[in-house]
């Protein structure tokens, strides 16, 4: 704003020097001046964010973990109509661009967010708008799937935030040091997360014989989805061998989700929550970030048992598309006020499920 004020002062000075005849020329200078100021401001903000990210990464390399610190900005975010802002962003990025302009815009995007343009399936001028470019498919063979039958592959391109085995009562995943969230809240209260009650544990901490795991060994394809159990997550703990992995996708990453194994999806849950940013800073400052955001959970079974994938949207990349259910839409205006933990569910082929092979595409994120 000080830059614009200086511009205005300079324009007025020039106008008075020219005896008032420079007014219209001054106005015409103001618009490009404001544009330059906006671009400069965005550049400074981007540089500052990169500097902050670098500092956090350096601290992590030194073994210093960032801690949960709620702040004023995070509180203000809650007051903003984030879903509407996200949809506006989606609308803006859907505006068709002139063909000559497309390569410049997409190259600038790729430079800013470290995308690999040589992997794009189509020439740059074929993507009519930024939204189409963002959700671009890759050339055949760009993502070879590990052929080892005893391996579980990454469903996305991204950065590993956390992973490990789920143990202990409550089944919590650490969002950041000092704050954890419950897996049941993330996946939904009606999730088939394999748990055992505390009373079913023997002295060694192993599950008693009649656990869901043992039942699964006898018949893991046969699962009843008709009567979800309501469990007390505090007095129960996960069966042995329940793992999790949290992967963050940067704006420049390939935003399609693929099957990590051969599996059957039985149910899709859609939680139409808010749309906060989900970057490093947000994980440190926004409580329950992942379980308050809009998300889609796909749940089913693979040869070793339970499998669930939660795709969590963000303000800039808010909509989630499902090639396995093309009519599904997310990030729509909410018709009624639902509790963030209330999900809209759909069963795929009740009792049979939808079979997917390792590497098959199951979902994609899109802008706005």
């Amino acid at each position: 704003s000080s830059f614009i004020k200086k511009l205005q002062t300079a324009t007025q000075a020039r106008a008075s020097f020219n005896g008032g005849s420079g007014s219209s020329r001054g106005d015409s200078f103001l618009v490009p001046g404001a544009t330059v100021a906006t671009l400069l401001m965005l550049g400074v903000l981007h540089a500052r964010r990169m500097y902050d990210d670098k500092k956090v990464e350096e601290a992590r390399e030194r073994g210093i973990e960032s801690e949960f610190q709620p702040d004023f900005k995070a509180s203000v975010l809650r007051l903003l109509p984030l879903r509407s802002i996200s949809r506006c962003w989606g609308y803006l990025t859907s505006v068709e661009m002139p063909v000559w302009l497309r390569p410049y815009v997409y190259r600038a995007w790729a430079r800013a967010f470290h995308s690999k343009l040589e992997e794009a399936a189509l020439p740059l001028n074929k993507y009519a708008n930024l939204r189409e470019f963002f959700v671009r498919a890759l050339k055949e063979g760009c993502r070879p799937i590990d052929p080892d039958p005893q391996c579980l592959v990454s469903p996305v391109d991204g950065t590993i935030l956390r992973f490990g085995e789920l143990k202990g009562p409550g089944v919590m995943i650490e969002q950041v040091k000092g704050f954890s969230y419950s897996v049941a809240s993330l996946l939904g209260a009606s999730s088939f997360l394999p748990m055992v009650a505390e009373g079913d544990m023997d002295e060694d901490g192993d599950e008693a014989e009649n656990t869901p795991m043992d039942k699964r060994k006898k018949s893991w394809w046969r699962i009843s989805l008709s009567s979800p159990k309501v469990r007390d997550s505090v007095s129960s703990r996960p069966v042995k061998g329940l793992f999790y992995c949290v992967i963050y996708l940067k704006p420049g990453d390939y935003h399609h989700i693929h099957s990590p194994v051969d599996w059957k999806i039985f149910i899709r849950r859609h939680f139409s929550g808010n749309l906060y940013p989900v970057n490093e800073r947000a994980t440190r400052t926004i409580r329950n970030l992942y379980i308050e955001n809009e998300r889609v959970v796909l749940e089913g079974l693979w040869q070793e048992g339970f499998m669930a994938i939660a795709a969590i949207g963000a303000i800039n990349i808010g909509s989630i598309e499902l090639p396995i259910e093309p009519e599904f839409r997310s990030n729509l205006p909410r018709k009624k006020l639902l509790h963030p933990e209330t999900a809209e569910e759909r069963l795929y082929e009740p009792g049979i499920g939808m079979t997917l092979r390792k590497g098959d595409e199951i979902a994609a994120f899109n802008m706005g």
Partner: protein, 42 residues
Amino acid sequence: STVVMVFQAPVIIGDSSSEFKFSIKRGDKIRVGEALGRWREQ
């Protein structure tokens, strides 16, 4: 955007002798199709 996976995988229980191990570290960049973890007979 973020993706969270929750899954069961082999661990040593009773007569089972295979165990799942993650093959990644925190902060690693990973791409679709690359191994997150493997299980092997012990």
